[in-house]
C-alpha cells in the first residue's frame, strides 16, 4: 500500500495551501479531492474560469488562482474525482476513483473538507427549484448560470455576496428575504469594537449591501414564517415582514442560514467534538496547531470552525508547519506572523456570528416541516420520539430512520440535534450528534468486493 507523510483530503484553500507548505518542508504529500478540478467550493473552477467570470466574481475569488498555482507547482501528488469513503484508526484511507477503490496510508492526515450549508428546514424546502445559496453561486462560478427570478432567502454574508455577484453579472435577484430579526443588531453591536481589525470585511459587506440597494433589488427584512409554495416545483415564496404577509412568485428560491463545519470525516474517526454556541454548530476539539483529539489527525480550513477562505489557507499552512516540526524539520520563520494574521482575520467573526445566527424558524421548525429530506421525517415525528423517551439523535435515527438515507445526515443532523435539545430542555452539546459510520459516501457493493485484498492489519483488539 502507498504511504505518505501527509494525506490531505480536500483541495480548497486550506488543502492546497497545506500541500504547498508540506512539500516545501520536503514531506511526501497526497491530496485527494472529490471535484474534477482543485479550488474547493469557494474557488470552484478557479483554474478554468475565464477573466470575465473572474472579474465579476471579485478580487477575493481571483486570489484563489495564486493558491492553486502554488499548489500545482508544489509537486504534491493529487487525485481529483477521489471520493474518500473510510478512514480507520490507523489512518488508512480508502477512496474511490475511476470506478474502483484504492487504499493509502498516512503518517499525518489533514481533513480539509471545509464547510457545508446549515440545514434550513421550512415548508416546501424540498421542492424542485429550491436550492441553497451556495448552489446558486456554484452554478454562477462553474457555468455562468443565473436566474432572473431568483429569490434569496435567509441570512449571512454569502447571501449578500451572491446577490452582488448576480448584479455584476447583469441579472440581479428578484428579491432578498432576510431573516435577521431587529434585535440581532443590538446583540451584534457589542462586538463591533473587537471586529474593527477586520474592517476590510465590514467594508466589503457594506459595499455589497449598497450594490444591492443601487440595483433596486427589493429587500424584505426581519422576515419570518417563510414557506415555499408549489405542487411539483416551487412557484412562490411567502413570508411575514413588517407585520404583513408577502407573496413573491418565482420558480427559483435559494436558501441560506450560514455555513457550518463538515464534520463527517472527523466524526468517522471518532475525534471529539464540542458544540460552539456562537457558531451554533459542532466543531472538532483542536489543539493550537489544529490537531484533533486523535493524534496525527488535523483539521485545516472551515472544518475547524468557520473562518473563511483567507483563514483557511493560513490554517492549512500552519498545519503543514506543525507536521513538519513533528517530523523533525526546521520550523518556518513565518509561523508567528501567520498566527498573528490568523487572529486578525478572525476578529470580525463574533460580530458576524451574532448578527447572522440561524433564525428561530429553521432551529425549531413547525411539526409538519420535513427535517430529514432523504427519509421524509418531520419535526413532529422527532418530537414524538423524544416524548417516548428517545434521548438523542442516534436513538431517533434508529427509531425513525432520520439520517439513514444517502446523505447520511448531512442535510438534517444539526436540525435534529437542535430539535431534540429544545424538546428535552437541554443544549445540543448534551444531546450530541449522529454517530457517523463509513462509508462516508455510498459505495458500490461490487467495488467493495473488488477492494485490494490486503492482509488485515494487526487486529487492534
Amino acid at each position: 500500500m502507498n504511504s505518505y507523510d501527509v494525506v490531505i483530503v480536500g483541495a480548497g484553500p486550506a488543502g492546497m495551501a497545506c500541500a504547498a507548505e508540506a512539500r516545501q518542508a520536503g514531506l511526501s504529500t497526497l491530496v485527494l479531492d472529490e471535484q474534477p478540478r482543485p479550488g474547493g467550493q469557494i474557488f470552484r473552477d478557479i483554474e478554468v474560469s475565464d477573466p470575465g467570470r473572474r472579474a465579476l466574481l471579485g478580487k477575493d475569488y481571483a486570489e484563489g488562482a495564486r493558491i492553486a498555482e502554488a499548489f500545482r507547482a508544489s509537486g504534491a501528488d493529487y487525485v481529483s474525482g477521489a471520493v474518500v469513503w473510510n478512514i480507520d484508526s490507523a489512518k488508512r484511507i480508502d477512496y474511490s476513483a475511476g470506478g474502483r477503490s484504492h487504499s493509502v496510508e498516512a503518517k499525518s492526515l489533514v481533513a480539509a473538507t471545509g464547510a457545508i450549508e446549515r440545514p434550513t428546514p421550512m415548508p416546501g424546502w424540498t421542492l424542485p427549484g429550491v436550492t441553497t445559496v451556495g448552489a446558486a453561486q456554484i452554478l454562477l462560478k462553474t457555468s455562468g448560470i443565473v436566474f432572473e427570478d431568483l429569490v434569496l432567502v435567509g441570512s449571512g454574508p454569502l447571501l449578500w455576496l451572491a446577490a452582488s455577484q448576480m448584479i455584476t453579472a447583469g441579472v440581479p435577484p428578484k428579491a432578498i428575504v432576510e431573516t435577521v430579526p431587529k434585535s440581532r443588531y443590538r446583540a451584534a453591536a457589542r462586538h463591533v469594537l473587537r471586529a474593527l481589525p477586520g474592517w476590510r470585511y465590514l467594508a466589503k459587506g457594506f459595499a455589497m449591501m449598497r450594490a444591492v440597494k443601487r440595483a433596486g433589488v427589493p429587500v424584505h427584512r426581519d422576515a419570518e414564517d417563510i414557506a415555499i409554495e408549489g405542487d411539483s416545483a416551487a412557484t412562490a415564496v411567502t413570508f411575514t415582514s413588517g407585520s404583513k404577509r408577502h407573496r413573491i412568485e418565482t420558480a427559483h428560491v435559494a436558501l441560506h442560514q450560514g455555513v457550518v463545519p463538515n464534520q463527517q470525516m472527523t466524526r468517522v474517526m471518532n475525534c471529539q467534538h464540542r458544540f460552539d454556541e456562537s457558531q451554533r454548530a459542532f466543531l472538532p476539539v483542536l489543539s493550537e496547531d489544529f490537531e484533533t483529539t486523535v493524534p496525527g489527525v488535523f483539521v485545516a480550513g472551515d472544518g475547524a470552525g468557520i473562518g473563511g477562505a483567507k483563514s483557511a489557507a493560513m490554517r492549512g499552512r500552519l498545519v503543514a508547519m506543525r507536521i513538519a516540526e513533528t517530523a523533525g524539520k526546521p520550523v518556518s520563520g513565518e509561523r508567528a506572523k501567520l498566527r498573528t494574521a490568523l487572529a486578525r482575520d478572525a476578529a470580525v467573526r463574533p460580530l458576524l456570528e451574532a448578527l447572522y445566527a440561524p433564525s428561530d424558524d429553521v432551529l425549531s421548525p413547525a411539526d409538519a416541516v420535513m427535517v430529514c429530506r432523504c427519509e421524509e421525517i418531520t419535526a413532529g415525528q422527532i418530537r414524538e420520539a423524544v416524548a417516548l423517551g428517545a434521548p438523542g439523535p442516534n436513538q431517533v435515527k434508529s427509531f425513525l430512520r432520520a439520517g439513514m438515507g444517502p446523505c447520511q445526515g448531512r442535510m438534517c443532523g444539526l436540525a435534529v440535534s437542535e430539535i431534540i435539545a429544545a424538546a428535552r430542555g437541554e443544549s445540543p452539546s448534551t444531546v450530541d450528534y449522529y454517530r457517523i459510520r463509513p462509508p462516508l459516501k455510498p459505495l458500490l457493493l461490487s467495488e467493495l468486493a473488488g477492494l485490494g485484498a490486503e492482509a488485515p492489519r494487526e487486529a487492534a483488539e
Binding site: 436550492t131 456554484i138 448560470i145 416545483a233 421524509e376 459516501k441
Partner: protein
Amino acid sequence: MPQRIDTSGETVRFTFEGRDVEARAGETIAAALIASGETTTRASVVSGAPRGPFCMMGVCFECLVEIDGVPNRQACMIVAEPGMTVARQTADEVAA
C-alpha cells in the same frame, strides 16, 4: 428562467429522458440540466414526491439520476460526457 451569461466554449450533448441536452464542456450533468430548464431529477423513494438538485456540491444526494443504466449517480458531481444517457430516477425503480 435560467440564463447563461456567456455562451462561449465547446459544448457536448447528452440525453435526459430521451431529450437532447447541451452542456458546456467540463460542466456537471446537474448544471447542464438546470441550464436547460430542468429542475426535477428524481422522485423521493419514500413518497414519490419530485426532487431536484439542492446543494450542487455533492452532500445532499437530491440529484441522484440513472446514468447509462447505473442508478444513484450524483448529477452534480459527474461531468457531462458526449452521448451519455441520463434518466430521472423514479421511486418504483428503487423500491416497489
